[in-house]
């Protein structure tokens, strides 16, 4: 391995750690709520916003693309928050899946109608963590810190709602309002992360650490700790493999997540017996 590469990978490594940090936390909520694919769905809705901005004539690097995708994310957040409030006999996961499919298809249609730049649109929607630059890393770190602080302040409320929404609603608190705040802040994070790291990788950062943590621990505190350690560790290890074997970085981290999860599952009997 050529260690000179490390000086160039500093920004991607830091970006990976920042993303791992917030997503391991949000992943706990997402898994608790049983809305595993909500990030894919919100990311795709955000892409639709970007595609429509391009369709309306925005340049590929125009800031209006980001704002448009943000507006769409908020609309998506509102939809997901509303649907949970209704006592229909439709699983929320179904609505999320449908939103994903429709948003993806709408992106394809919008691209087919947009004049110019369609060729490059795919690249804009699917980030590449290897090419992230420092200013982007700092900005993302700042935004995530603000959202993290917001979640820390209201951590009890968010956790209650994720674990037992009915009990919270019974106390006269508007679950719908808090759900909107949750999905909106979540969508903000996911939209940025996907632009940096791509859909596949962001999904893994979100879900795998909390699933891995569930294998080893029951209570929320230890689970969060395990999720963070796992997210940070796999992020660094995947980067290392990517350099060692010269593989595309994002895909390598995704596979490393899978590998470590299997190892954690195999080690489960040892850990859980010890804990009990």
């Amino acid at each position: 391995m050529d260690f000179a590469i490390l000086t160039f990978l500093a920004a991607p490594i830091v970006a990976g750690l920042i993303i791992a940090g917030i997503h391991a936390y949000l992943g706990l909520h997402v898994v608790e709520r049983g809305v595993i694919f909500v990030d894919l769905s919100l990311a795709q809705i955000a892409s639709l916003g970007a595609a429509i901005a391009v369709f309306r004539g925005a340049d590929p690097h125009d800031p209006s693309i980001y704002w448009m995708s943000l507006i769409f994310t908020l609309i998506g957040a509102a939809i997901f928050a509303m649907i949970k409030g209704q006592e229909a006999h439709i699983p929320q996961e179904a609505i999320i899946g449908i939103s994903y499919a429709v948003a993806s298809a709408a992106v394809i249609i919008t691209m087919s109608k947009s004049t110019g730049e369609a060729e490059h649109l795919k690249d804009m929607l699917v980030g590449n963590i290897l090419s992230v630059q420092w200013p982007e890393v700092w900005l993302t770190g700042g935004i995530y810190a603000a959202i993290g602080l917001f979640h820390w302040i209201f951590r009890k409320r968010f956790l209650e709602i994720s674990q037992d929404p009915k009990a919270v609603a019974a106390r006269g608190i508007s679950v719908r309002f808090w759900d909107f705040l949750f999905y909106a802040s979540f969508g903000l994070v996911v939209t940025r992360s996907v632009a940096i790291a791509g859909v596949l990788l962001v999904f893994c950062y979100l879900i795998v650490p909390s699933v891995g943590a569930m294998l080893w621990a029951k209570r929320i505190g230890p689970r969060l700790a395990i999720g963070w350690v796992m997210g940070l560790f796999v992020s660094a290890l995947g980067m290392y493999f990517s350099v060692l074997f010269d593989l595309p970085t994002g895909a390598t981290i995704v596979c490393t997540f899978g590998l470590i999860l299997v190892l954690m599952a195999l080690m489960r009997p040892l850990i859980v017996r010890k804990a009990a």
């Binding site: 391995m1 050529d2 000179a4 590469i5 160039f8 990978l9 920004a11 004539g57 394809i108 691209m111 087919s112 004049t115 110019g116 369609a118 060729e119 490059h120 649109l121 795919k122 690249d123 590449n128 290897l130 090419s131 992230v132 630059q133 990517s242 350099v243 060692l244 074997f245 010269d246 593989l247 595309p248 970085t249 994002g250 895909a251």
Partner: protein, 310 residues
């Protein structure tokens, strides 16, 4: 773990062994595509080392950068790019990440090979959105005209001579030799293609205007309704109708596109799908710039012979 360490030791040793001759030779040239690498090799010979980033079988619009790309660009004395926004999706951030002042756009070690060639589909006058998909800088697949290959080799020769004046004479000789071999080959290709001048064909993506223009074939339509957009039913039906009306039998496809739609179209019109190599290395037989044309011309000629009976 031990076997992993051993494996990585072997990998490092192998990398060092391969890197050794590179350190011994002169200018380190990095190109975005294998076509550019082949042309640089023709001119530079053993006075330079050449590395191509994208492989010939990859779609040069979409390349997934690997960590080694950053190192390659960082250590390059000269970076040669296709330009015309072909690599816009992956190259700019790669150049920024690599932090090599020499090869930044506008730097002395940055060569945009498209500046001296003949570019097709250049929009004239004011571009409006209503004109549909217009490449503001013209079609970037210009290397598929041997005349442009010669112009690119000339530009590379000038740049190499500027960066390494001591070897100028070698570059001159090698360029002259390439020029001669290319001219001989061109005569042969022109003769082979002559009977089919004006034959109408369809291509999948707009990769071939320079090639078809050079060899006198007429591209009457595309399988894609727009560059990068998968075929839509109405466009496909329209295309089938047009092909039937005009008696068009041949669809040329790049190796990285799905063959299903082109095949269903040719089933309808009784024609043939032909996968050509758009770049050096796109097929095993297309190992260098001249072989690329040799391969494509042979395939087109044998297909057209079969289809037209000429």
């Amino acid at each position: 773990m031990r076997s992993l360490i051993r494996l990585s030791t072997i990998a490092v040793l192998a990398a060092v062994a391969f890197a050794q001759p590179a350190a011994a030779a002169g200018l380190k040239v990095v190109t975005t595509t294998e076509d550019l690498a082949s042309l640089a090799r023709e001119v530079g010979g053993d006075r330079i080392t050449v590395t191509a980033l994208a492989k010939g079988y990859q779609d040069p619009h979409f390349v997934d950068p690997k960590p080694s790309f950053i190192l390659e660009v960082n250590r390059a004395d000269l970076l040669i790019v296709v330009g015309r926004e072909l690599e816009i999706g992956w190259l700019p951030s790669l150049i920024t990440s690599a932090r090599n002042a020499k090869v930044q756009p506008g730097g002395n070690g940055y060569l945009d090979a498209s500046l001296t060639v003949k570019i097709l589909e250049l929009p004239s006058g004011q571009i409006t959105r209503a004109m549909g998909d217009v490449h503001p800088q013209g079609n970037p697949h210009y290397w598929l005209d041997p005349g442009n290959g010669r112009r690119m080799a000339l530009a590379i020769k000038e740049k190499l001579s500027q960066l390494d004046p001591a070897d100028k004479a070698t570059f001159e000789t090698r360029y002259a030799d390439f020029d001669k071999r290319l001219a001989v080959a061109e005569k042969k290709w022109d003769a082979a293609m002559a009977p089919y001048k004006g034959t109408k064909i369809v291509t999948y993506h707009r990769s071939w205007p320079n090639f078809m223009d050079r060899f006198g074939l007429d591209v009457m339509g595309y399988v894609e309704p727009k560059p990068g957009i998968p075929p839509s039913p109405s466009h496909t039906i329209e295309l089938i109708g047009e092909m039937k009306a005009q008696g068009v039998k041949l669809i040329v496809v790049e190796p990285y596109f799905d063959l299903k739609t082109p095949q269903s179209i040719t089933n309808q019109v009784g024609g043939k799908v032909l996968v050509l190599a758009p770049s050096v290395g796109g097929q095993k037989e297309a190992g260098d710039y001249i072989q690329l044309f040799e391969y494509n011309v042979n395939l087109i000629v044998s297909s057209l012979k079969q289809l037209t009976g000429k």
